[in-house]
Subunit: 247 residues, 2 copies
């Protein structure tokens, strides 16, 4: 299996890496290494891994960003821990860790993008939970698009029905909550970025991408604070370098 890797250090730059190490020295010793060696294995798209990639990028932590093609996946799937990607390998160990939400929190712990104060962390996890609720509402219209047992015409009708309902009800409901959560702050939970911002940025880019039929790409434009948040996140040097990297 050949995988497309890139060394993140080259993107994030030595300056960003040094800042992260200085800012959060206390987390690193518990890992038994000054800097954990991380490989993140996922498909060659954003999906469930992107929030973890964004967190590591924001924290200036280098990682091996292995991309798996669908052709490779057929062979790889039976060898994975739970038949899923992403998987994360630490310090060259052969046994991976699974679950993107777990990797997000791990990445947050080693980069300081999870507050140490339990009450502040509660707000961050609340924002993450709200984002997951929005994604849970989206899920039936995604799952049905992969369902081989439904005839194409009936499937198209059902997807349209579900997505139009989402655009009318659930998506505005959740986006209004996030708009209010941002308030006058630069980030969801105050003046510093956290893992909640990394996760919500992925949602903003997904909903606003126009790739989902019946969900207009300008659906976010009614939310000025979310729009400014997305712009702020995407112009962070580490995120910008990653997003603008030539394919």
């Amino acid at each position: 299996m050949s995988a497309v890797n890139f060394a993140l250090g080259a993107l994030a730059g030595a300056a960003a890496t040094a800042v992260a190490a200085d800012a959060y020295p206390s987390m690193m010793p518990t890992l038994g290494l000054n800097r954990p060696q991380i490989e993140l294995k996922y498909f060659d798209f954003a999906g469930a891994a992107e929030k973890v990639r964004f967190t590591l990028l924001m924290g200036g932590v280098s990682f091996k960003d292995t991309r798996v093609s669908f052709k490779e996946w057929a062979e790889l799937k039976p060898t994975t821990k739970y038949g899923q990607l992403p998987e994360m390998y630490l310090n060259g160990e052969t046994k991976p860790y699974a679950q993107s939400g777990a990797m997000l929190r791990f990445a947050g712990a080693i980069t300081g993008l999870v507050p140490k104060d339990p009450i502040k962390a509660l707000s961050v996890d609340e924002a993450i939970g709200l984002d997951e609720d929005l994604r849970r509402e989206m899920r039936p219209s995604i799952v049905i698009s992969y369902d081989q047992t439904i005839k194409p015409k009936e499937k198209a009708r059902k997807i349209k029905e579900l997505r139009e309902k989402l655009v009318a009800d659930q998506i505005p409901k959740f986006l209004s909550h996030f708009e209010q959560m941002l308030g006058n702050s630069d980030y969801l939970c105050g003046s510093s970025p956290t893992i909640a911002d990394a996760q919500f940025l992925v949602t903003c880019r997904w909903l606003g991408s126009g790739v989902l039929d019946h969900i207009p790409a300008d659906i976010m434009s009614k939310y000025p604070k979310i729009t400014a948040f997305r712009e702020r996140m995407e112009t962070t040097p580490e995120i910008a370098a990653y997003l603008n990297k030539p394919k």
Copy 2:
């Protein structure tokens, strides 16, 4: 609105409380109080709040366990943060926190039931993610049971179809993963309980309750390690006192 409350201290006992405070003194000062005053507001059943209740019980942390009736809920819902329960109130503040997964991690942080080592915490969050995946598979058959737009006969047929598929495929797949995760350990992530155990116990009790049509109550009996785990958790003094409390 009248709510049924009970003081947990009377259940957990002074001994358990003292153990928790001694074992994890370092978390408490960050809360600005020796012991946070917690009110957990939810319906009068297990649902999304039970994992938080179990964690606080296991950690010997007293909390006000407010139960909301469905009659009260109609009036309460518009006043909640996101139209959802549970909500958690800290230190008598009027503004609540939402999201049960966030409350679980907060409860874990103040009781020491989340490991401080980020790699150990990664395993705990992986177990939680796996449990959430199982619940996500269950969800369509639950959601449809509340769907008023489907005729009763068609609904019953669809629920049967979905649940029989779950019993044949997804539930055994996930339970096998948990059986293997337990291995020769007393708990999902080693020899000490964590928030992952609190969450998985709720799933064990739900799937093994017989309340879900077409999911046989003895579905767990093929998994000796899970069965022993459930027994071990349910006979923990704090959990046993809670579960055996007269209604």
